[in-house]
Amino acid sequence: MIVLLSIFVIASLMGGCGKSKTSITLAGSTAFQPFAEKLAEQYMSTHANVSITVQGGGSAVGVQTAISGAAQIGMADLVVLPEEAKQLTPTIVARDGIALVLNPANKVINLTMQQVREVFNGKIKNWKEVGGADSPITVVSREAGSGTRSSFEQIVTEISLTKDALIQDSNGTIRETVANDPNAIGYLSHGLLNDKIKAIKIDGQECTTELITTGSYKLVRPIYLLVKGTPQGEVQNFIDYILSADGQQTIKANGLIPAK
């Protein structure tokens, strides 16, 4: 009886195999992932023939799965696209600032670029060296394949991450870790800021949409959608939707910066 039931379940699932729904998978940047999911939800509410799935994994996963075909669209938030991305067609769909975040209990509100460099290099080990309380700094960073991390290190320059740094695997997890540890410092997408953590100023510049757009806030990177070859059909339609006024409005409303 159980066998029959299972066969029925499996058969009904396989029945989906020959349907007319187009399936699009996006994978990559965890910074853009929540936005991609929201945009996908909105797009699918008006386009019932398309089924869009969003996976994470980090920008390097975005590049690789776009190349290998596991994903139709790769998401990457990188300042500079890597060598292997040459075979992919990039489209910038948004810009995003990287906020340097602290626990709300931390009294520090500003760091110079040099201080940021030295904290992440492990040269500055205690908060009191930068005007805070006398406690050791817990550096929290992303894994090596993260676009946010690559961009952060490329913009700040000369960063050789301290071996003591905690590593977490997504923007959201860094936010949670910093929110739970009064001594932590981390970086994450400006679009993911909330009141559990606070963003500090860098060289006196706040991490706000205006200052990011003008360029006064230096930690900015574009968000690319990568497709193998030329985007066609539903893939192109979805990308067009994201670049349309509706899509860009959603992006703006949720904390990212429009592409233009």
Partner: protein, 278 residues
Amino acid sequence: MRIHPRYTQRLAVTILGGATLLTLGVLAFIIVFVLQKGLPAVSIDFLLSNPQDMGRAGGIFTTLIGTIILPLLAIIVAAPLGVSTAVYLTEYTAETRITRMIRFGTDCLAGVPSIIFGLFGFIFFVTTLGMGWSILSGGLTLAFMILPTIIRTTEEAVKAVPKSYRQVSFSLGATRWQTVKRVILPNALPGILTGIMLGVGRSIGETAAVIFTAGSSLRLPSSILDSTRTMAVHFYILAREGISSENAYGTAATLIIAVLLINLTAYWMMNRFIAKRS
């Protein structure tokens, strides 16, 4: 200086009892902690509505489906394969070096960390075979993961059936298959079911291997090639990314209760089975 054995015994009982209480206390704390924070969020609505806003609102229905389908596929593949292999190895082959090597290999594979199966599944199923993040990739990976355990526990269960049962059956003129079908399998069934339940339990709780092979889509899967999210993965993502503490605990509570129910059902079935036969 010699202490009277009565006192050492009292001391031993106190220490052992204390350790036991500590152990049970910690384990109870974990369950109570999760249930206390999670049960308020659980309701029929929670279980039957789809997640909204990436899990911030709504229920966990699609993940419930994922949690049912993935282990189901894994069991459908692994149980017949595993039981047949074990029966064949114990009943139809002699004890040779090859069978001993196979047994050792199976034992080892049963102990291999699940992340390695996840790595295998990601490279082989998702990328090389092009199945993408899908129920198929996830189910097959899980099947491979639990296959060694099912083979091993079935073998133990079959071996535990007394030789005399087989001898009596043969002396009555039964063929090997008849003996297996009517004497050995029914007697070994409790043990076999334990192995299968272990496999189910492991599949339900598995997170890393599942994320890398079945993905983490929150949409209701419509075909075996669709990605899906299980409750364990959902809990992990909600909790780690701080998306919704309430829903995270609710998912965890549902997960724990589900696992508890499955295990209890298995025990109950086995007890009834044993009672019926004796």
